[in-house]
């Protein structure tokens, strides 16, 4: 009898310990949520206005304060202006963040607001995980007017506004004026051709200086080359390519990739391009070991600190055989901020989220963005002295070209993740020398066929 009691007590203790370690199962969201009812910021109760509300914000960087200082500053300013609202930031490196958001969408635990890549954001909208922000825009006409229509359209599907632009994406080549002066090379200007770039490469190579710092271990770091795609008629062909009636492996794109292969053979890229990543390529540029760096507006502050007045910005070479418009710059909507559909279930939370978005797309946030070397997402450029940030000033000067136009989206952001990865793979494949131009383009065609 005693032994039975002893065994039973032992078993019960083990089972209780096991159960005690578990947490309540999250609410399943296997069914599509009901269509969200119109909720405006005026429908909150008095008690909701007084009780602190916490909204969660999922960011695509592990350390928002260090890596996205403008967004961090905006969040802090918002919290200071709204003491009853706290923003809880959940950050992870981009790939990890996207994976986490997909997992959380399955368990119904998405953050209230989160950054998301365009392709999976659209899939989330189709699966019913996102809130329609049309009502937010209708109830905040000032915000709606400030936002460029093209940026709103980038996250709109048949009238469902599933996201709003996180920030503009401004990308190209930063360059070090000091190195150009040291080796007697003319600085690149809007309209500098590919042949002129090759001449620069020859000079820099003879002095063992990498012309363009690139890191193939970060496959996504090919921004300037994605802009160059536009100069070969990308947007005239991509719809047919995705529909199956055209291919990436065509004479125009092959000519484009042939140019990259020429640069690679001429030694334009670092000799260890295959083994360094984006951050190491950035260090190479900041330390004066390369003349140019493929990057974007987010590096303006770091480049100002390292190079000072020697920082310049360039949209990349034009091509005499390019069939597209050569006067292309890149200022497009980056990946959007999206809002979880579950926010609509809580009026206080909806109010807090709407207040955050209204603040984020307002003039004060635009001023904070410029002060932190960012480009405001809204059509409003505050009067901020940028003379202490020479790189940022150079970027703004480059953006001021009236006859240069931006496409509506960066080429990789309108295709699926698989095709996007294939595009990065193909570009670096040619730079590293793994693929011929035709092989590289074939990689993308294969990805489209398998998509």
């Amino acid at each position: 009898m005693l032994k039975k009691i002893g065994v039973s007590i032992l078993c019960i203790t083990l089972i209780l310990a096991f159960v005690g370690c578990s947490s309540p199962a999250p609410t399943s969201t296997t069914e599509k949520p009901e269509a969200t009812e119109a909720v405006t910021s005026t429908e909150t109760t008095d008690s909701a206005q007084q009780e602190p509300v916490v909204i969660s914000l999922g960011m695509h960087v592990a350390d928002t304060q260090a890596q996205e200082p403008a967004t961090w500053a905006i969040i802090k300013a918002f919290e200071a202006a709204n003491p009853n609202i706290k923003v809880n930031i959940i950050g992870a490196e981009t790939d990890e963040h996207v994976k986490n958001m997909k997992l959380l969408s399955q368990t119904g635990e998405l953050p209230d607001i989160f950054w998301m890549l365009p392709a999976p954001a659209k899939e989330m909208q189709e699966a019913g995980y996102l809130l329609d922000l049309t009502e937010f825009l209708d109830s905040n006409p000032v915000v709606s007017d400030y936002l460029p229509q093209s940026m709103k359209d980038a996250a709109n599907a048949d009238g469902f506004q599933y996201g709003l632009p996180y920030q503009p994406l401004v990308t190209g080549f930063w360059y070090n004026k000091a190195l150009f002066q040291e080796y007697g090379v003319a600085e690149p200007v809007p309209g500098t051709t590919f042949d002129e770039l090759m001449s620069m490469v020859a000079v820099f190579k003879s002095h063992n200086v990498a012309t363009i710092a690139q890191g193939a271990k970060s496959p996504f770091s090919v921004w300037a080359w994605l802009t160059a795609y536009c100069r070969y008629g990308y947007y005239d062909r991509i719809d047919n390519i995705l529909a199956g009636s055209d291919k990436f492996n065509n004479t125009d794109f092959a000519a484009f990739y042939g140019k990259i292969a020429e640069l690679s053979k001429a030694g334009a890229f670092p000799t260890n391009i295959a083994t360094i990543d984006y951050f190491q390529a950035k260090d190479m540029f900041l330390q004066g070991q390369s003349a140019m760096f493929d990057s974007g507006h987010w590096d303006a502050q770091a480049i100002s600190e390292a190079l000072g007045e020697n920082a310049g910005f360039w949209w990349g070479p034009t091509f005499t055989d390019g069939v597209g418009d050569q006067k292309v710059l890149m200022k497009v909507s980056a990946a959007p901020f999206v809002v979880s559909a579950k926010v609509a279930d809580d009026p206080a939370k909806t109010d807090a989220v709407y207040k955050f978005l209204a603040f984020y797309y307002g003039e004060e946030a635009a001023k904070i963005t410029v002060e932190n070397s960012g480009i405001p997402v809204i059509n409003f450029l505050p009067d901020v002295d940028t003379s202490s940030n020479p790189a940022y000033t150079a970027l703004l000067q480059a953006l001021a070209l009236n006859d240069w136009k931006s496409p509506y989206a960066q080429p990789d952001l309108i295709v699926s993740e698989a095709v996007q990865n294939a595009m990065y793979d193909s570009l670096y494949g040619v730079m590293v020398g793994t693929y011929t131009p035709e092989q590289a383009l074939g990689v993308i065609d294969t990805a489209i066929a398998n998509d």
Binding site: V7, P120, T275
Partner: protein
């Protein structure tokens, strides 16, 4: 404690661990098999496509490269680890001066996080700024400078060497523990019969370590098929997938390209290869023993 020795009570005591094992190890295998038969981006509902993902594996050149690299990694690491760790364990067992400190130093790479191991060896193997090529230049062997990583030729061997370096101490420790279990009388008796050191190793040590060798082989097999962080940090599977191994290519396909179904088909294939190797290694000697017994 006779109350705990009955079969029923043993089963009851095993139940919690068994439940955890089933939920976190066994069930995910079946979940992966399910998703491998679907087209799924991680969002919404999966779409059943049958064996299309498996058919695609045969025509995917990157998968072939990943499989080839994993086999290279396995063969090189297996040979190096098995023999070097055994010899090292014999050396440590001979109670030379400083063997205690040597044991700690040999084991230390095993406690370094794999991602840090990748970073350390990047600084050694990078063809441009790495220590190895710089050293070769300094000692006048500039012709020996090569792409230790950065292309598909030597990268798999470099990864195998790093894995060997990281695991050597751990496997040596297992062999060393096995050596301590061998009764000394056997060696004394062999010495009386005139056996030299080599004969003692062949006729006493190795047969007595049969079970330990079996465990070590299984550990090496499963470990080689799980190499991930080293590749991720050293080369990220590049350039252009030339240094991918099965796990890294599965990760890339599943989480970066958003092709969960296709990625799971790779995971299932990886699992099957590892399990066939492990079970084959265990069953073949048993089959041989049975055949010898029948004779």
């Amino acid at each position: 404690m006779r109350c705990l020795s009955s079969t029923r009570n043993k089963l009851i005591m095993l139940l919690p661990t068994l439940a955890v094992y089933i939920v976190y190890i066994i069930v995910p295998i079946f979940v992966a098999i399910f998703y491998s038969l679907t087209k799924y981006s991680g969002i919404g509902k999966p779409k059943f496509v049958g064996f299309k993902n498996y058919e695609r594996l045969f025509s995917d050149p990157n998968f072939s490269v990943a499989l080839k690299n994993t086999i290279i990694l396995f063969v090189v690491a297996f040979v190096l680890l098995l023999f070097c760790s055994f010899l090292l364990a014999l050396l440590l067992d001979s109670k030379l001066k400083g063997s205690t400190i040597a044991k700690s130093m040999i084991f230390s790479p095993a406690i370094i996080a794999p991602i840090i191991v990748g970073i350390i060896w990047w600084f050694i193997f990078d063809p441009q700024i790495g220590f190895l090529n710089s050293l070769l230049t300094r000692v006048g062997n500039e012709s020996w400078r090569t792409m230790w990583i950065g292309d598909g030729t030597l990268a798999p061997y470099s990864i195998a060497f790093i894995y060997f370096w990281q695991q050597l101490g751990f496997i040596t420790t297992i062999f060393f523990a096995g050596l301590q279990m061998i009764p000394n009388e056997l060696f004394e008796a062999a010495a009386i019969d005139g056996a030299n050191r080599f004969k003692k190793v062949i006729h006493i040590t190795i047969p007595m370590l049969k079970e330990t060798i079996q465990i070590v082989v299984i550990l090496i097999i499963t470990g080689c098929f799980k190499v991930f962080e080293i590749v991720l940090q050293l080369t990220n599977g590049g350039p252009n997938h030339l240094s991918e191994v099965l796990v890294t290519y599965t990760y890339l396909t599943t989480f970066k390209a958003g092709q969960y179904g296709y990625g799971m088909s790779m995971a299932v294939v990886t699992f099957l290869i590892a399990i066939m190797l492990s079970i084959g290694y265990i069953l073949i000697p048993k089959g041989r023993k049975t055949a010898e017994g029948d004779m």
